[in-house]
C-alpha cells in the first residue's frame, strides 16, 4: 500500500512539471535565503562576542565590588576592589579549572600633556602580558580578525614592565601632537624644554614621544607622571577616539594612588560553562566573605553595545526570515491549491473507487514532501555555494561600534542547516495539507461534478 502510494505520488509529480519546478524553486531559494540569513546572524554574533569579550577586554565573567558597576565612577575609592579582594579573587580563580585567563582592570579619567597643552583622557589599565594573550587568542583572531586597532607603533606588551608607557587613541594622539610612537629599540627620549610659542613647536612635539599624565588619586590628591607613547590605536566611535588611552595596570594604579582595581575579569576555556562557573565562583566568594557582584559578559548594563547591537541584528534577521517563510508558505499553498482544483475530478474518482479522505490527503502530502526534499537538497547546495562565494569575495562589513575592517564571513553550521531544513519542510507540508484538507472534505458528487469550486 505504501509503495503503491509512493508510485502514484511519483507519477503525479511528473504530470505538472513546470508548476512543481516553480514550487520547488520557491522552497529551495527560500531555504538558501534562510541559510544565508542565519549564517550572517551567527557571524555577527561571533563578531560582537569576540569584540566584547576579547577586543574590549570584558571577559566572560566580570567581578565588581558590590554596586561597583553602577557607582564606581562616582566614588572609585568606595566601590573598587581593594588589594585584599584582588588577592582573594586570584586565589579563588586558581582553584577553578575551567578558567583560562583572569586579571584585574582599572579605568578612569586624567589629563595627558605634551608640555604645551593638555587633553582629557579616559584610560583602561590592564596587565600587558594578559592583554597579549587576549589579543592573540584564537577566537579573537578568527572573529575579531585581529582587529586590535593598532595603527602605529607597538602594543604595551612589547615593552618591559618597568617602562612608563601609554597607548593613545588616534584622535587623542593627534590632539596632543604625538603621532610618532616611541621606537622600542631606542631608549632615547628627549626631555628638552619646549618653547610653546616657537613656530616649529608642532614638529618638536611630534619628534619625541614623551607625555605627562595627571589625574586625581582616589584619595583626592592630584598625581602625575611621565610616559612614552608606544602606540596609536583606532577606536570605533569619534567620542572614544578623541579621549581613549591604554596603560599597564600598575602604571594606572600608581596614577590613582591605589593598589585596587575597578573590576576583575575572567576568561573561560569553554564559554558554554559560564553559568556553571558563575555558580561555583559565587559559592566560593560567599565562603571567602567577599562583598562583590558577579556578572556574565552579556549583562546589559555591562555590555550595553553588545546588548543593543545583538538585539537589533536579531530583530532584523527574524523579520527577514519571517518574510521568507511567508513567501514559501504562500507559494506552496497556491501551487497545491491549483493542483488540487485541477485534479478534483480525479480525487472524486479515487474516492468513488474506495480511497479514503485520509489516503487522498496523505497522497498529496507525499507529493509535496517529495518536492520539498528535492528542493531542500538543491537549496542547501545552492546556499552553500552562495555563502562560500560571498565569503570568498570578502565583502566589507562595518558594524556600528566595532572597529572597521571586518569582512562578510557567514557561518555554515550543520546544526543551523538541519534546523532550517526541518522548518522549511514542515512549513511546506503544513501549507500543502491546508490546501488539500479543504478540497478532500467535499463529498464525491461535488468532486466529480466540479461544483465544489
Amino acid at each position: 500500500m505504501n509503495f503503491q502510494l509512493l508510485m502514484i505520488a511519483a507519477r503525479n509529480l511528473s504530470r505538472n512539471r513546470r508548476r512543481n519546478i516553480a514550487t520547488g524553486s520557491a522552497l529551495g531559494l527560500g531555504f538558501a535565503g534562510l541559510l544565508a540569513i542565519t549564517g550572517f546572524h551567527e557571524q555577527i554574533e561571533h563578531n560582537l562576542r569576540a569584540y566584547t569579550v576579547y577586543g574590549m577586554r570584558t571577559g566572560h565573567i566580570v567581578v565588581y565590588k558590590h554596586d561597583g558597576l553602577e557607582k564606581f565612577e562616582t566614588n572609585p575609592k568606595e566601590f573598587s576592589l581593594d588589594e585584599k579582594d584582588l588577592q582573594a579573587l586570584k586565589r579563588i580563580t586558581a582553584e577553578i579549572p575551567e578558567i583560562e585567563y583572569d586579571g584585574a582592570q582599572i579605568v578612569g579619567p586624567g589629563l595627558v600633556s605634551n608640555g604645551c597643552q593638555s587633553m582629557p583622557f579616559y584610560a583602561t589599565g590592564i596587565d600587558p602580558e594578559l592583554d597579549r594573550r587576549l589579543q592573540q587568542h584564537p577566537y579573537n583572531l578568527r572573529w575579531n580578525a585581529g582587529l586590535s586597532g593598532l595603527k602605529k607603533g607597538r602594543e604595551l606588551w612589547a615593552y618591559s614592565a618597568d617602562e612608563q608607557v601609554i597607548m593613545l587613541s588616534s584622535g587623542l594622539a593627534a590632539l596632543v601632537g604625538k603621532n610618532v610612537p616611541r621606537d622600542p629599540e631606542s631608549n632615547a627620549i628627549s626631555t628638552d624644554p619646549i618653547d610653546c610659542a616657537a613656530a616649529d613647536v608642532k614638529d618638536k612635539l611630534a619628534a619625541d614621544s614623551l607625555v605627562q599624565l595627571a589625574g586625581y588619586g582616589w584619595n583626592g590628591m592630584m598625581t602625575g607622571g611621565d610616559a612614552a607613547v608606544t602606540g596609536v590605536f583606532a577606536t570605533p566611535n569619534p567620542y572614544l577616539d578623541s579621549a581613549a588611552a591604554r596603560l599597564p595596570l600598575s602604571q594606572l594604579q600608581k596614577l590613582y594612588g591605589t593598589r585596587g582595581a575597578t573590576s576583575y575579569s575572567i576568561w573561560l576555556k569553554d564559554e558554554d560553562k559560564i553559568s556553571e562557573v558563575i555558580a561555583t565562583l559565587n559559592s566560593k566568594l560567599a565562603t571567602a566573605g567577599l562583598n562583590v557582584d558577579v556578572y556574565p559578559w552579556n549583562y546589559p548594563e555591562l555590555s550595553a553595545h553588545y546588548d543593543g547591537m545583538s538585539k537589533f541584528a536579531l530583530t532584523i534577521n527574524v523579520f527577514i526570515a519571517t518574510i521568507i517563510a511567508f513567501v514559501v508558505a504562500l507559494s506552496v499553498s497556491n501551487s497545491a491549491t491549483m493542483t488540487i482544483i485541477e485534479r478534483a475530478r480525479e480525487i472524486g474518482m479515487m474516492r468513488s473507487l474506495g480511497f479514503t479522505r485520509r489516503w487522498i490527503r496523505v497522497l498529496f502530502v507525499v507529493e509535496i514532501a517529495c518536492i520539498a526534499l528535492i528542493a531542500l537538497a538543491s537549496g542547501a547546495a545552492f546556499g552553500f555555494f552562495l555563502i562560500s562565494g560571498l565569503n570568498a569575495v570578502g565583502l566589507p562589513l562595518d558594524l556600528p561600534g566595532v572597529i572597521a575592517g571586518l569582512k562578510v564571513k557567514m557561518v555554515i553550521n550543520p546544526e543551523t542547516i538541519s534546523r532550517s531544513g526541518v522548518a522549511i519542510f514542515l512549513l511546506a507540508i503544513a501549507s500543502g495539507l491546508y490546501a488539500v484538507w479543504r478540497v478532500a472534505k467535499n463529498n464525491i458528487a461535488y468532486l466529480l461534478t466540479g461544483t465544489h469550486r
Binding site: 566614588n75 568606595e78 589629563l111 600633556s113 593638555s118 614623551l210 590628591m221 592630584m222 602625575g224 594612588g257
Partner: protein, 253 residues
C-alpha cells in the same frame, strides 16, 4: 485729597523700584570694576609679594581629604606648594595670568592644566590661590541684597575668556568695605553648580594700613549635599617676592 493720592502713588512706585532689587541711578553705586578690584585685594590679588597657608579639607560623601598648601603670590603670578600630606610634598601648582601648571618632583615636564579642573564637588585649583575677578570677568551691578545681615551689591560676572575658572559668577560684595561675602558659580547653561561663602578674619598690613584678608572659604556643590570644601587661610604676610621667582621654569628639576 488729590495731592495726597498722588504722593501715595509716587511712594508706591518708588517702593516697588527699590524692592525689586534694581539699582536706581540716584544711589551712586561704585563701579563694578572698583568693587572687583577691592574685593580681589582681600583675596590675594596684590601687587606686592604675599604668602599664606591654605588648609583645604574636602568632603565627598564618605571620603575626606586634607591638603596644606603654602601660597606665594605677586601680581598675576602665584605658586601653591604642597606641604602636606607627606606623599604629595614638594608638588607645585604654578599660576601665571590664566595659565596653570602642575609640577611634581621627578616629572620631566610640567603638566598644563585648566583652572576649571575639579569644578564640581571640591574646590577648583583656582580657588586655592589668589583671585583676580577684575582681570577675568566683566561685572555688572544688578541689585542690592543682604548677606547675613550685611548690605551688599549683587554683581553678575561674565567670563572675559574661555580659559577662566567659571563661565559666570553671581557675586555679593559688601557695601561698607567692598569684601566679597558670597558667590554662586555658574555652568555653561547658567545653572548654579556650586556656591561659596567667604570670611575675612585675617589682617594684612601694607603701607602702614591694615586691611582685612580672607580667612575661610566654604565651597559647596549645588547638586551633591554631601560634597564640600573648606579652605582655611592662615598666617598671611607681605613678603619680598623677587621678579621671575614664580616662573614655572624655576620649579622643574
Amino acid at each position: 485729597m488729590r495731592r495726597s493720592m498722588l504722593k501715595a502713588g509716587v511712594l508706591l512706585v518708588a517702593t516697588q523700584i527699590l524692592g525689586s532689587g534694581q539699582v536706581s541711578a540716584s544711589q551712586a553705586a561704585p563701579s563694578p570694576e572698583e568693587l572687583l578690584k577691592d574685593s580681589d585685594r582681600a583675596r590675594g590679588a596684590v601687587e606686592v609679594g604675599m604668602t599664606w597657608n591654605s588648609n583645604v579639607e574636602t568632603i565627598d560623601g564618605k571620603n575626606t581629604s586634607k591638603i596644606v598648601y603654602l601660597i606665594k603670590a605677586k601680581g598675576d603670578q602665584a605658586v601653591a606648594e604642597t606641604v602636606a600630606p607627606e606623599a604629595s610634598k614638594g608638588e607645585y601648582m604654578v599660576f601665571k595670568e590664566r595659565n596653570l601648571w602642575y609640577v611634581k618632583p621627578g616629572m620631566k615636564r610640567p603638566v598644563v592644566i585648566s583652572a576649571r579642573q575639579k569644578l564640581s564637588g571640591a574646590a577648583s585649583n583656582a580657588d586655592i590661590v589668589s583671585t583676580n575677578y577684575f582681570r577675568d570677568y566683566d561685572g555688572t551691578i544688578v541689585g542690592e541684597e543682604k548677606v547675613e545681615g550685611v548690605d551688599c551689591w549683587k554683581l553678575d560676572l561674565k567670563a572675559k575668556a574661555k580659559n577662566v575658572s567659571y563661565n559666570g559668577i553671581r557675586y555679593w560684595i559688601s557695601k561698607s568695605n567692598h569684601l566679597g561675602l558670597k558667590a554662586e558659580f555658574l555652568g555653561v547653561k547658567g545653572e548654579t553648580f556650586k556656591h561659596a561663602e567667604f570670611k575675612y578674619d585675617n589682617k594684612i598690613s601694607s603701607a602702614g594700613k591694615e586691611r582685612p584678608f580672607m580667612s575661610k572659604i566654604v565651597i559647596k556643590d549645588a547638586q551633591k549635599a554631601d560634597s564640600n570644601s573648606t579652605i582655611v587661610v592662615s598666617t598671611p604676610k607681605i613678603i619680598d617676592v623677587p621678579d621671575g621667582s614664580l616662573d614655572v621654569k624655576n620649579f622643574i628639576k
